[in-house]
């Protein structure tokens, strides 16, 4: 280190012996508190705060029964996103990884979840059902797992071919699946499904993992989110429904999802984007915390002298090295 740099480092370290000014930290704090309080109260009174009503299964079943019907069939067939999610819900896939690092798989199944049983069969069983639905339930439960899968997968494929329109689905042996899906949508439209999926026989519950997974499977929630400009490729969670500011401080995370390499379908980077971007963010956070020790980065303020604006008055009165 040169003598000049040593002298500067010494100046930064030792107690300041240059000119001083009067300063009252409590007075500054009191004034700041008054100003920020007035600002906060003013903004709250003028603009209020966002509160778009939560989505319910009753609302979904009433406004888009076809998508709920299709989602119910996909849960029975195991073709829905949540049915094949992997850890921490089930072992139906390995989940995401970054090269050989498969943290999702290694963490294991900690919130066990069976899409067909938890989202369709158990809620139907928890209520008194019409005779046709009760009979369909009995048929389903009496069948082997292979038979259940054959019925559900065949109907799931037929519905996909008919673009989700059950009336146009090809004839076939679908067993009790259509009746079960119809029963579920009817239960949803009456509001009974919201209560059944929430309580699951318990008095207390705060865990809404299962209903969130089902709500996400049908496309109903995503359509609402995209309409509110909350889609992942439009800065996602950073935004807020309506005209309120959202979590703008998440920009350093959301920006990565806007890059084509992380939002182009069929791309291995896109398939594992959540894991890769998380690691990128960890590295960025470490860089931010360790700025004082990173050569080059810590010298940026010397190379780009914005500090001269901050200390303009001091330099004017006391000179600059």
């Amino acid at each position: 280190m040169s003598t000049k740099h040593e002298a500067k480092a010494d100046l930064d370290t030792r107690p300041w012996t240059g000119p001083t000014r009067h300063y009252d930290i409590l007075k500054e704090g009191a004034i700041a508190l008054v100003i920020v309080t007035v600002l906060t109260v003013g903004l709250a009174a003028l603009f209020s705060s966002p509160d778009d009503a939560q989505l319910t299964f009753k609302g979904w079943a009433q406004s888009s029964p076809d998508t709920m019907y299709t989602a119910a069939v996909s849960e029975l067939a195991g073709s829905s996103e949540s049915a094949g999610y992997g850890p921490p819900y089930n072992n139906n896939s390995d989940g995401l990884s970054v090269g050989p690092i498969a943290l999702q798989k290694w963490a294991g199944v900690t919130h066990p979840f069976d899409a067909a049983q938890d989202l369709v069969i158990a809620p139907l069983e928890s209520q008194q059902q019409p005779a046709d639905v009760a009979a369909a339930l009995a048929t389903w439960k009496a069948a082997t797992a292979d038979q259940q899968a054959a019925w559900a997968e065949a109907y799931d494929t037929a519905l996909a071919d008919a673009e989700g329109d059950a009336a146009k689905a090809a004839e076939g042996d679908y067993g009790p699946v259509p009746a079960l899906a119809t029963g579920l949508v009817a239960m949803g439209a009456s509001g009974a499904y919201d209560g059944a999926i929430l309580s699951r026989g318990s008095f207390f519950t705060t865990d809404y993992t299962k209903q969130l997974l089902f709500m996400g499977d049908g496309g109903y929630m995503e359509d609402k989110a995209v309409a509110a400009n909350l889609g992942g490729d439009t800065w996602g969670m950073m935004n807020e429904a309506g005209s309120w500011p959202g979590q703008s401080w998440l920009a350093f995370a959301s920006v990565w999802y806007q890059l084509p390499m992380f939002n182009t379908e069929g791309n291995v980077l896109t398939d594992n984007a959540d894991a890769i971007i998380f690691f990128i963010l960890v590295v960025l956070c470490l860089i931010m915390i360790l700025v004082p020790f990173i050569p080059g980065l810590r010298s940026l303020p010397r190379w780009i002298p914005l500090h001269r604006l901050v200390w303009k008055q001091y330099y004017k009165e006391n000179g600059r090295a």
């Binding site: 480092a9 100046l11 930064d12 107690p15 240059g18 001083t20 000014r21 009252d24 704090g29 700041a32 920020v36 906060t40 903004l43 009174a45 603009f47 705060s49 509160d51 778009d52 009503a53 939560q54 999610y85 921490p88 989940g95 999702q104 963490a107 705060t206 865990d207 809404y208 993992t209 969130l212 929630m221 609402k224 989110a225 909350l230 969670m237 807020e240 429904a241 979590q247 703008s248 401080w249 998440l250 959540d274 998380f278 690691f279 931010m288 915390i289 360790l290 700025v291 004082p292 010397r302 002298p305 500090h307 901050v310 200390w311 303009k312 001091y314 330099y315 006391n318 600059r320 090295a321």
Partner: protein, 239 residues
């Protein structure tokens, strides 16, 4: 019975008295405290004497508006905690049905927005001032960790609002948490866990980090300007 002159806050030799078993008072001098309490006080007073903790004068270079944003961040955090404390009395669904609850929620919402605005300006200001110089690296690091802890605290606040936004944010963010195994521990769709994190664990952690940050600022003082002339050298030149 004891009398201890170190209570004046000086580092001078202390004088203490104690009652002997025979009932007489012996007076002795000592250089170092003999109890845990005394050691803590001694260290505290040496590290942060009152004139450093609550100074009445600051270096002449502490005049820019950028210095205001540190204090603005702290007072907005106080408003965040205050409005949040009132919200806890009504619960997470209060603001859906009560105009008073909605107003308190709005206070919480806007104080959070201001808190982040002030903190980000403060952070960038300190970056361009290279405020980590002169053994102030830990001050910078605690500030950076406070920012990241704030992001986490705000995030858990959004997922407990029990409205559409909470549903969507939980649905989207679960994939990120699950992708790296964190979903096995932190379930964003578990309202109970998120509420406890938001109103208890994270604010407590954030509060501790902020207190540490402020104490470090007071301990090391405000960093001198990057191109400042040495005041001692200037005085010697004048003499």
């Amino acid at each position: 019975m004891s009398a201890d002159s170190s209570a004046t806050g000086t580092d001078s030799m202390t004088v203490s008295g104690s009652v002997s078993t025979a009932g007489s008072i012996s007076v002795m001098t000592e250089d170092a405290p003999t109890t845990w309490t005394g050691s803590l006080r001694h260290k505290w007073m040496r590290t942060l004497p009152p004139d450093k903790m609550l100074p009445e004068r600051q270096p002449a270079y502490v005049t820019s508006w950028i210095y205001v944003f540190g204090m603005a961040t702290i007072v907005s955090l106080i408003l965040v905690l205050g409005s949040g404390a009132i919200l806890t009395l009504g619960g997470v669904e209060w603001f859906h049905t009560s105009s008073l609850g909605r107003f308190v929620n709005s206070l919480h919402f806007w104080s959070v927005q201001l808190f982040f605005l002030f903190m980000i300006v403060h952070l960038w200001g300190k970056f361009w001032m290279a405020a980590w110089r002169g053994k102030r690296a830990m001050t910078w690091m605690t500030g950076a960790v406070a920012f990241l802890a704030s992001v986490g605290t705000a995030f858990t606040g959004y997922v407990i609002t029990t409205n559409f936004n909470a549903q969507w944010i939980a649905f989207e963010s679960k994939d990120v948490m699950n992708a790296v195994g964190l979903g096995a521990i932190f379930n964003v769709a578990d309202l109970g866990q998120m509420i406890l994190l938001h109103v208890c664990l994270l604010p407590a952690g954030l509060g501790l980090i902020v207190i540490m940050h402020v104490l470090l600022v007071r301990k090391h003082g405000v960093v001198p300007p990057l191109e400042a002339l040495d005041p001692d050298a200037q005085k010697a030149q004048v003499a």
